[in-house]
């Protein structure tokens, strides 16, 4: 934990944080999954050609598919990896089944046990017990899962090791410049991830003032002392949704799923939406203002009457 945590103004940009904090061979985790999934971050990691990363998490959809398809991942420690509804995780399948473009080592967990790894990591302890996992092949094929007798009851429990990834990217609705972050709706394990990672980067739809944060401290999901940098990144989860901000772009997801059925199709998609877009702004321009505004408008319409 460096002095970055101690600054009051941590605002910077996406290319800089990916360049600075994601090093070849490091471990990362991405906040959200469907809700607030860090898809723009995944595209930037690909754009900067980061290599040999270990991805830790519970579930991942678009962001994971982009990273595994682009060959950035050496290892995946996760419970669920797929696109869902509009199609399968074809890049994940190709990587694991055929080693194309490379075969990452996969360590399977369940959603709960994968989450407990971050809970342990967030508290600076080495492991956490659970009643899940024991009676399955998850434990058989994952040597990092151990068992022990609960010393109080004598009953067997499984243990999972703490996860402390080197970097976490967490996309939120709102944050102040020092990193106090508000998450609306689906939280996933993000308050816990923010604490478990060695460096936590907040990307956000909007920067708000510290004053606004102070009006309701119970809404702050992540306090500034765990945060290294803050990046304004509107529509940073597209085509996934952000509760209260924009709805899923299913046609975009479906196009991704259809094209990624073949390796060539996915490479074409990658050319079009990653390599040919210099940055996130270029990506949004390509999507078009009409499209992103419509996704925001439909979300607002469905959420009318809820706190914002």
């Amino acid at each position: 934990m460096t002095s970055g945590r101690k600054k009051l103004d941590k605002v910077t940009d996406l290319a800089s944080v990916v360049n600075k904090y994601v090093t070849d061979g490091c471990s990362i985790c991405l906040g959200g999954a469907i809700a607030r999934e860090s898809v723009a971050v995944a595209r930037e990691i690909v754009r900067q050609q980061k290599k040999d990363l270990t991805l830790m998490g519970a579930a991942m959809t678009s962001a994971g598919e982009i990273l595994v398809g682009a060959g950035c991942l050496k290892r995946i420690e996760i419970a669920y990896f797929w696109i869902g509804v509009v199609g399968q995780g074809f890049n994940f399948r190709r990587a694991v089944e055929q080693g194309v473009p490379r075969r990452p080592k996969v360590a399977d967990y369940s959603n709960f046990s994968a989450s407990l790894r971050f809970l342990a990591g967030s508290m600076g302890i080495g492991f956490m017990p659970t009643r899940s996992l024991r009676h399955s092949d998850i434990i058989r094929y994952n040597p990092d899962i151990k068992t022990m007798a609960d010393p109080y009851t004598g009953q067997e429990v499984a243990l999972v090791p703490a996860a402390n990834p080197e970097v976490a990217f967490i996309h939120v609705q709102r944050a102040d410049p020092s990193g106090n972050a508000v998450i609306m709706g689906n939280l996933w394990n993000d308050p816990t991830l923010a604490r478990a990672a060695r460096k936590t980067i907040i990307t956000c739809e909007e920067i708000i003032s510290e004053q606004e944060i102070r009006t309701n401290p119970n809404l702050t999901a992540i306090p500034r002392y765990c945060v290294e940098a803050v990046v304004p990144l509107p529509f940073g989860a597209h085509p996934e949704p952000v509760d209260g901000y924009y709805w899923m772009d299913q046609p975009f997801r479906r196009d991704f799923a259809l094209r990624s059925q073949s390796r060539e199709g996915f490479l074409g998609w990658l050319q079009e939406w990653v390599w040919d877009c210099a940055d996130h702004n270029a990506y949004l321009e390509k999507l078009g203002a009409r499209r992103i505004q419509a996704l925001a408008a439909i979300e607002k319409r469905f959420r009318q009457g809820m706190a914002r």
Binding site: E97, S110, H135, W188, I298
Partner: protein, 287 residues
Amino acid sequence: MKKAALKYNAAHLMAARAAREIKDGETAMIGVGLPLAAGIIAREVHAPSSMIVFEGGTVGAKSRRMPWSISDSATSDFALAAMELWRMLGDLQAGYVDVGVVGGAQVDRYGNLNSTAIFGQGSYARPKVRMPGSGGANDIASSCGRTIIMMRLGSRNFVSGLDYLTSPGYLSGGDARARANLSGGGPALVVTDRAVFRFDGQDKEMYLAEIDDPANLEAVRKLVGWPLRVSPELKKMKPPSAKEMEVMHRLDPLGIVLGTGAELELEDFEKYLGVLERNFPDEPLSR
């Protein structure tokens, strides 16, 4: 089918059948797709104070749109609570969730499930087919009060041996699960598109309890990868009621989940928007 109005497909049949297993007042942990349809039908038709919770951590949403995943905005629309994933699954492990729905690509005679990999000639590390993995299925199967297994009855998915056991059912049968320090009660039944299976009270082996048409008995036997026991009181699966069908049509206007085929409209962004707007019901569905 007595009336032409009650035209239904396999998805409708499964969702309606599973729905009837959810009781009033129960807290149900449910994934998206058919299980969610089942949960919503239960709430709207016969179990008004049942409540759906999602692994993503939201409780009792009341949305005007169909969730397409366990954590999209529709799962938090006017929800009663939103918590972290570990907390929700901790609540599951602590016994607060009465019923859950799980599935998989393979099931064995004791209700153990595989949603991780089909090995084929390969192995776990290099499987023929890699699937998404457990997600919360292992946790739900381990800790939920009881589970409903939902899956199609295909030619190779009711197997005598799983390639990979993702989610525990009754393990090796008999009292194996009872001895296993799992807080959940295990699978209550298996709902498929052609039949419903239950588990023997003693040895916990799956048996045929309901069938779409008794004439199909031999066909069903052939699909199952072990010598199938049949209940002496074999029943006919009850088709979806008009009320159940009405709820399903209302909740999935795009037909994405229930396969009524609005796929074309997903291709084009403007058509997608149009469908969302046309199908914006005035009254929110309760979840």
